[in-house]
Amino acid sequence: MTLDREAVLKRLGAVGYVADPQLATAVVLMQQLARPLLIEGEAGVGKTEVAKALAAVFETPLIRLQCYEGLDANAAVYEWDYQRQLLAIKIWESEKRSAEEKERHIFDEDFLLKRPLLKAISMEKPPVLLVDEIDRADEEFEAYLLEVLSDFQISIPELGTVTATAIPYVVLTSNGTRELSDALRRRCLYHYVDLPSEAKELRIVAARLPDIESALAAQVVRFVQALRKEDLRKKPGVAETLDWAAALMGLGVKDLRDEPEALHESLMCLLKTQEDQAAVPIEVVERLAGKAG
């Protein structure tokens, strides 16, 4: 099943992800060229959402590998179930079998715990594999990942080589904590996600919060867009906009200009550091709300 650009766009829209043709093209290429897609962009622009939406588009499970410093093959690829292996050895102790046979028994696939990478390549139907925040993993792991993503096979010394039954759709995200290797970058398709324009953000809010009144949605988006222009340490992302809009709906706010104080208090949805909260006092909130209305 290869979807063309229009189909991808339509399906992404149907699952609530507002996409542009550029991203849809990248998804088409993922299918055609079997290359992973590397997504970069500031925190909170919805990089991870792309993978979730893709899983829905292809109607396939999402397998997520969250990277962190010190992530190793045991946590990412596979691990033996040691407790069960020890038990099995004990149980088989009295059996009159050769050592080879016992060894074969305890290194059976039954005792293999599949971690995300192995799971992703051994599924019948190609899943979406999300390698989240690859920049947090060590260089060594990145190199290993590159190898897996080129050959789509993993070798397990005790068992042999596992070759992918179906090539997964791989999405990598990066926040730029560390410079990624050129080899990995070259191997991947690339997509950069910017903070959305006002029109696009409005469409996102409407798609994600269908119950919101359009007047409030417009105000919220304009407010956040203006807030991003202030000198902040952490600019609120799309996820924050959605949180805040939902919070305002929950508080029963109909118009941003009505209750500046409640508005100011609800800003904790948008501003996540004390420094930024101090940088936006209630006067600024009123000014921005006035402009947004």
Binding site: L29, L38, E103, T177, R186
Partner: protein, 391 residues
Amino acid sequence: MTGAVAILTPQDGGRMLARRFVGFVRALRDNGFPVGLRETIDGLRVARQAELDHREPLRWALRSLLCASRTDWQRFDEVFDLYWRGHGQLRAAQISAGGSRSRTPEITDAEGHTGPMLGADRGEDAEAEGGEGRRGGASSAESLAATDLRHIIDADELARINDLTERLAARMKYRLTRRERQRRRGRRLDLRRVIHRSIRFGGTPMQLAYRVRWPKPLRLVVILDASGSMSLYSTFFVRFIRGVLDNFREAEAFVFHTRLIHISAALRERDTEKALERMALMAAGWAGGTRIGDSLAAFNRNYAASVINSRTAVMIVSDGYDTGAPETLSAEMARLKRRAKRIIWLNPMIGWRDYAPVAQGMAAALPHVDLFASAHNLESLAALEPYLAKL
């Protein structure tokens, strides 16, 4: 259908298309895009089956495939339009004519001339000499080491300083690595191996196996003040930094005067002439005024996230004479302190008799500094070694 796109129609068996496409890839490479052979082949495949009467789908597809970073992403349109809309690769190739192939735009757009302090670097590419150098650091050249760096001008002596600093950096690294290894040994069981070994004892884990975590090297980020008041020392420290970059597995270097410049790539250049050329490009403002606070702000904003990890020590080399506001410096130091494991501030002025850190900037920065030390000669640098080894 415009002229350029008409060429893409596969009537001539795609040979013309292939030629045009290879030209496009060359234009991208000239502009610093890392396009490999496999990308070229895949790109051609995509171009062949694209809806050829429209340019946009081709643009989207090639942008996905041939870009590899944010900089590429932002510049792709420009190259694409020039190449496919104009009539040839020449114009596209000229977009960055004169710029380096560096991936950091901050360097590329710097326009400038050779700064006075850079001249002293010319013609020097001293290699470490054989085995003798391995044994010891500063002690083997005592008389030289005790001389204040201000008084050294002789080229031969400069070469020896270079040699010493390189060795010093190498020793710091070595100490660190060894410490890590010994402390970590045997802390975690390697269960996979324990199970394997236990088979021959019928499942009783008689022989244990440990996992030794491979020690991670310390990352050193050096931020050097190259303003006028520091000019006596900056050549020496540039050389020191070069030694650091060569010998530490992970290191980054920055220089600031009125603004901040990332110089790691230029200093890593092995070809001395090329290195000088690249540094000359950046040297505008060298030995001018100082804006420490603003430079640190630039560092925090643009680089800190990517160059500082949990094992990073930041070394600032400056006399603390700042023409900016001390409040800015204080705030930026606090911000830096939150990220970096250790901050070391080397101040050549401590070596001068009767110097106390009264410079306003220095006073503002001091509360955030883990180690405030003198660095006016090699002995004082060598004295830092045990401290760095303990990080």
